[in-house]
Symmetry: D3
Subunit: 254 residues, 6 copies
Amino acid sequence: MTSFRMAEMTWPDYHEALAQDPVILVPVGATEQHGPHLPLSVDVILPTAVCEGVAARGGYLVAPPLAYGYKSMPRSGGGQHFPGTTSLDAASLVAQVKDLTREFVRHGARGIAFIVGHTENLWHVSEGCDLAYRENARLAEGLRILNVGYWQFLPAETASAIFGTTQIDWDMEHAGIMETSMMLHLRPDLVHMERLVEHAPSRVPGYELWPYDIDAVPSDGVLNTAGAATAEKGKQFLDAYVRSLAAALGDAFK
Amino acid sequence: MTSFRMAEMTWPDYHEALAQDPVILVPVGATEQHGPHLPLSVDVILPTAVCEGVAARGGYLVAPPLAYGYKSMPRSGGGQHFPGTTSLDAASLVAQVKDLTREFVRHGARGIAFIVGHTENLWHVSEGCDLAYRENARLAEGLRILNVGYWQFLPAETASAIFGTTQIDWDMEHAGIMETSMMLHLRPDLVHMERLVEHAPSRVPGYELWPYDIDAVPSDGVLNTAGAATAEKGKQFLDAYVRSLAAALGDAFK
Amino acid sequence: MTSFRMAEMTWPDYHEALAQDPVILVPVGATEQHGPHLPLSVDVILPTAVCEGVAARGGYLVAPPLAYGYKSMPRSGGGQHFPGTTSLDAASLVAQVKDLTREFVRHGARGIAFIVGHTENLWHVSEGCDLAYRENARLAEGLRILNVGYWQFLPAETASAIFGTTQIDWDMEHAGIMETSMMLHLRPDLVHMERLVEHAPSRVPGYELWPYDIDAVPSDGVLNTAGAATAEKGKQFLDAYVRSLAAALGDAFK
Amino acid sequence: MTSFRMAEMTWPDYHEALAQDPVILVPVGATEQHGPHLPLSVDVILPTAVCEGVAARGGYLVAPPLAYGYKSMPRSGGGQHFPGTTSLDAASLVAQVKDLTREFVRHGARGIAFIVGHTENLWHVSEGCDLAYRENARLAEGLRILNVGYWQFLPAETASAIFGTTQIDWDMEHAGIMETSMMLHLRPDLVHMERLVEHAPSRVPGYELWPYDIDAVPSDGVLNTAGAATAEKGKQFLDAYVRSLAAALGDAFK
Amino acid sequence: MTSFRMAEMTWPDYHEALAQDPVILVPVGATEQHGPHLPLSVDVILPTAVCEGVAARGGYLVAPPLAYGYKSMPRSGGGQHFPGTTSLDAASLVAQVKDLTREFVRHGARGIAFIVGHTENLWHVSEGCDLAYRENARLAEGLRILNVGYWQFLPAETASAIFGTTQIDWDMEHAGIMETSMMLHLRPDLVHMERLVEHAPSRVPGYELWPYDIDAVPSDGVLNTAGAATAEKGKQFLDAYVRSLAAALGDAFK
Amino acid sequence: MTSFRMAEMTWPDYHEALAQDPVILVPVGATEQHGPHLPLSVDVILPTAVCEGVAARGGYLVAPPLAYGYKSMPRSGGGQHFPGTTSLDAASLVAQVKDLTREFVRHGARGIAFIVGHTENLWHVSEGCDLAYRENARLAEGLRILNVGYWQFLPAETASAIFGTTQIDWDMEHAGIMETSMMLHLRPDLVHMERLVEHAPSRVPGYELWPYDIDAVPSDGVLNTAGAATAEKGKQFLDAYVRSLAAALGDAFK
C-alpha cells in the first residue's frame, strides 16, 4: 500500500497504515463563488493539494475533504448573496468536525489536523475541535487536534518574492493572485483568465451588516485584482505551503 | 459552458445554468469499509457516476458529493467497528441536507434530488428533506425535493440478466457483485480482486444489538460473495441505473 | 408481585423485580391512520401485546409504550397528509430513546429492548440506541440495547400458512391482513370490517418526494387489501411473534 | 362514532370529529414513584381520567397521553433517585409538545390543551407551548394553546370539605390523600393501602441541591400522609376537577 | 485581595481566592418590566445585592450576574407582551448554566450556587444544574450545585412584620411591596413612586394560554399594590434575606 | 426620560424611547483573564463605555451587556487554561444573540448593533446575527443588525499618535497598552500597574492545537507589554472609538 489518500484505500490498508501512527489531515473546504474566472471548488482543491503535498512526504493520511463550509462573509469571501456559494450553518460544520474526530479516534488515530481552505471556516472548525477534544481527550491518551488555514503558513521569503511584502491582507485575497495562481498550476482547465475584469480592490466596512450592503462588494466577487496570477507563481505558492506546513505540523505533532 | 459539475463551474456559469431550471442532483455518499478489495469511497464514487450519467443527458446539475454519511449497520454495511468506516451522527447529516436545500433554494433552484449511495443514509436524508421542505415550501413556489437510493432503480431486466432474479436483498449487496462490478468499470485501479476471499453469505440477525455481535459479521466486511463481478457487468449496471433513474426523475420533476 | 407491567407496579415492586436482572421491553408505537377500519392506535396496541406475551413467559418487564412515533412515509404508512397521523420529528424520538435508556440504566437494568410497532420508527430508534449506548456503555458494564420491529420475526411456517409465501413486502402491509387480523383478535370492538373498500394494492414510486404525490397513495390509507383478515389469523400471528421474538431475545440477551 | 378517545377512532372518524372544531386535550403524565402503595403510572391515569370526564361532556377529543414526563424534584415528587421514576430531559418534553401541536394544527385543530398530571412538567410544557405558538400562530388563525395542571382547579368547596382548608401545599400532595383517593376510585386493583407507613410530612429545604440530600426525602417516597384516602373522596375529587376544568376550558376557548 | 466580586478581581487574585474553597454565587436575573415605577433591571439588582450581602460575610465569591432570564409569565411577571421585557428561550438559559458550571469546575470550584432573582428562571436553571451535575459529577469529586430563588428564604418574622402574614403569594409580588422597597433602599434614584397607580390586585387564571388574555394582566404590569413600599422595609428585607440565605447556604455546603 | 441605559429605564420610558426609532447597542463582553494587573471584566467594561459614549450623543439605547463570551484562544486571549476565564460554548452565545434580536424586534426596534469587546466573540455573534436576520427579516421590515468589535474602529491618527503605526496586531493587544490605558481612565481602582512584569511579546504559532501548548503563552496572560499605558492615552482611545464608531453606525443605520 503506497497511497496516502484514505478514499482510495481499502479498510485493511487503512488499518495497517494507522499502525504507523500517522496524522490524519482533513481538508475543510467550501463551495463558494470565486469570481468570473475560477470555479466554485477552489477552496476544496487548494487545501487538498496542500495536504497531499505534505502527505507525500510520509507520516500523514489525507481524509476525504469536506466540500461545503461555513457561510461566506462580505469582507473575506464576498458574501452569501452570490449564486453558487453553498454554505453550512455553524452548528452543521461543528457537528461534522466532532463526528470525524470521534471516528478517527475510534480507528486508533491520535493526531488529527483540520486543514482549512476557506477563511470563514476557521472559528467554527475551532469550536468543533474544542468540543471534540473535550469529548475524546479522556478516551484517547495523547490525542492532539489541530486547526489551521493553510495560507497562514506562507513563508516570508515567498511572500516577499511574490507580493513584495510580508504584510498580506488575506481577507482581500479571495479569488486573487494567490488562489488564481495555484489554480493555474493545479487545474488550468478550470481557470478563465480572459473573463477577469480589472477593478479597484474592494473596500468593505469594518463591521458586518445584515442585510448586506451589496454595493460595497464588487459585483464580480473578486475582492482584489488577480491579473498578475501565473501558474509558475502557483507552483511557488504550493511548494512553499507544503514545506512550511509540513514543518509546522512536524512541530505540533512531534 | 457545457459542464454539469457544479464544482467546476464559475458562479456566473452556474447562475446562467440555473436560469434553465435544472434539477440539482446531490450525491450523498459515505466513507465506509467495502471489504478487502474495494476502497473506502465506493459509496461516493458510484452515486456520483450515476448522477453524472443522468446529468449528461441534460436538465441537471451535479453538486459536490457529501463524502461522509450515516453510520454503517451490521446488517447492511457491516457495522461501525471496522477501521475506515467514518460516519456522521444522524443530526449532522440531517443538518447538511437542510442547509444545502436552503442554499439551492436561495440560488433559485426549484428541483433538488438527493441521490443516496449508502443504504443507511436514506432515512436521515429523508428527515432532512422533510424538515427542509417544511422550512422552504412557503418561500419557494413549486419546490420539489426528492430522496432516493440509486440502486432502488435497477430495471427488472438487468436484475434478471445479472442476478437471475428480480428479488434482490440489497442489504446483502454491500461490497458484493453490483458494487464491485461498477468499481471495476469506473475505477479498476482501486479494485483488488485478488484479495477477495470466498465465504458464505453473512447471516445477521433480524434485530440490531449494541454492542454488536461482531461474530455475526464476516471479518472481511463483505456480506455476500463478489467473485462474479466484472467490469462489463459494471457497465450494465451503470447504464441501467442512469436510464431508469433519469426516467424516474423525469416523472417526479415533470 | 406478579405483574410484568411497569405501569402497574409500585416502585418497591419494580425495584425488587429489577434484582432478577430482567430485560425491559419498551413498545415504540405511533398514532397513525390505519385505513377506514382500524383505529389510530394500532401501532401501539400490537407491539404492546407482543411484549406482554413475551413478558408473560418470565424474565421481562414491559415499560409504558411510546404512543407517538416518527413520521409516516407514503410507501409504508401512507404519508403525513392523513388527519389523525400525529408524528414526531426524528430528533424528538431519538431524545426519548436516549432518556429512557439513561433512566433504566440508573435503575440498574442491563438489558433494554425497544420493540417497534411502526416501520418508520426503526432507523430513528436505532440512532437513539446508538447514542444511548455511546453515553452509557462505560457506566453500565454488560449493558445491551436492542432495536427490532416485531413483525420482522414472523416464522416462515406462519408466513407460508397465512400468506402462502415467506417473501412478504412489509411496507405494503400497513393496515393490511396482518394488522387487521391481530386487531380482530385483540380489540374487535375497534375494528370496522364493514368499512373496508377493496381496491388494488398501492404502487408508490421507489423514491420519496416532497410535496407528496398524493395520487399515488390510496385515499383510504390502506396500501394492501385486508379483506381476508380474521381473528383466528390474528391469534396465529400473535402467538408466532411471541414465540419467535422470545427466542430471538433469549439469544440476544443470553 | 361516539367516542372521544383519539386512540380508538379511525382516521375518517377523527377527521369528521375535527369538523366540529373540538379542543384536543393531551394528558401529560409521568412514570414516577408514588410511594409503596401506588403504581408508577398515577400521573398518567389521573389526568387521563379528568380529560375523559371533561370530554364526555362534548366538544373535546382526548389524545393519547404522554406516559413519560420531566424529572421528579425532591420537593414535589421525591426526586430522581427512586427506582421506577423514569423521566425525560426538558428538551425532550419540549420537543414533543412542539411536534404534537404542529400535527394537530395540520389536522385542522385550533384549540389544544395540555392537561398536566405531574407538577414538574408544567414549566417545560409551557416552554413547548410558547415555541409551538411562535411557530404556528401565523399558520393557523385563531389558534389557542393551553397549559394547566389539573389539580390547580380544585374548587374551594371541595378543598374545604376534604382538607378543611383552601390553602393546599400541592408540592406535598405527591402520593398523598388526593392522588390515593382518586386511584382508589379509579383503579383500586392497583392500590395497596396496607403498605402505607405513617410518618411525619417531609420537610425538604427551600432550595434544590445536587447531589440530592436524600435524607431530607422520606425513604418511601410519600411526602405527606395518605392514610385518610378513600374511594369516595376520590370520586369527589374527580367530579370536582371535571366540573371546574370544564368551566375553565370553556372560558379559555370560548 | 479583599473583594468578593469576581468581575473586579485579577485572575491571580481569583486563583488565590479559590484555594480557600469558596462557594461561587451566580445571580441569575432578568431584563423585565417592573411597572411604571421600577427599572427593567430590578431582577438583576436585587439578587446581586443579596449575593453581595452574603459574600461580605466571607466564604463566597460573586460571579457576574446573568442580565437576561427566561420569559415572563402572565401570572408571575405580567407576560412577554410588555416592551422592555427581554427574555431568553429555555434552552439558552440552560446552556449558560451548564457552561458556567463547567468553567467554575475547571477553575477548581466545588460549590456553585445559582441565586435566582426572577421566578420564571427557577425551573430552567434547575434543568441546567441537573445537566451540569450529570456532566461534571464524575470529574469533580465533592461537587455541589444549588438553585434557589432568594425570596424563598424570607424569615417568618420578617414576613409577619411587614406583610402581617407568613403566607405570601410570591407570584403576585412582581413589582410589589418587596421589590419596590428593596429598590428604594438600594437604588432610590431609579424608583418613581409618583408614577404608581393604585388598582386592585391582578386575578390571572390558573392556566396559561397562548395568545395571552392580555385583559387579565394589569396594563401597568404591577400585579399587586406597591404603595406601602419604603426604603426602611427594603433594608429589612435585604438584611433578612442575607441572614437566612447565608444560613441555608451554610447548611447546604457544609 | 433622559437616560439611554435600558437597565435603568422603566418599561413605559423604554416604550416611549423606542418610538424615536433608536438603534439598540448590545455590549458583548467576556469574563476573562487580563493579566496580573487588570480585572476579569475588562471586556465588559470597555465596550459598555464605548456604547455609552456613542449613546450619549443621541439616537441610541444601551442594553445590558452580556458578561460572558466565547472561549479565549491562545493567540488572542491567552487560552482557556487560566483560572477566571469563564466562557460559553459557541451555541450558547449564538442562542443569546438570536433571542435578544427576536425580543428587540418584538419591542419594535429596527436597528440592533452588537458591540463586541472580546475578539473571540466576533464569529459567533456573526452566526447569531445571521440566524436572527434569517428568522426576523420577514417579520420586521427595515430590520438591520450589525456586528462589530469596537477596537476595529481606531482612527489612523490615534493609532499613529499612540502606537507610532497604523498596523496594529490586535490579537496581541490582549491586556496590552490599549486595554490597560482605557481601564486606567475608566476604572483606575481596578488596575494594578505595580504587578506588571515586563517580558517579550508572546509568539504563539499560527495554528490552534488541543491540548494547548501552554509554554507558548506567557504565564501571566499578557501577550504584549502594557507598561506604557496611561489614563490619558485611555481617554484618547475612548474618545477616538466613540467618535469613529458613532460615524460608522451612522453610516450603517442611516
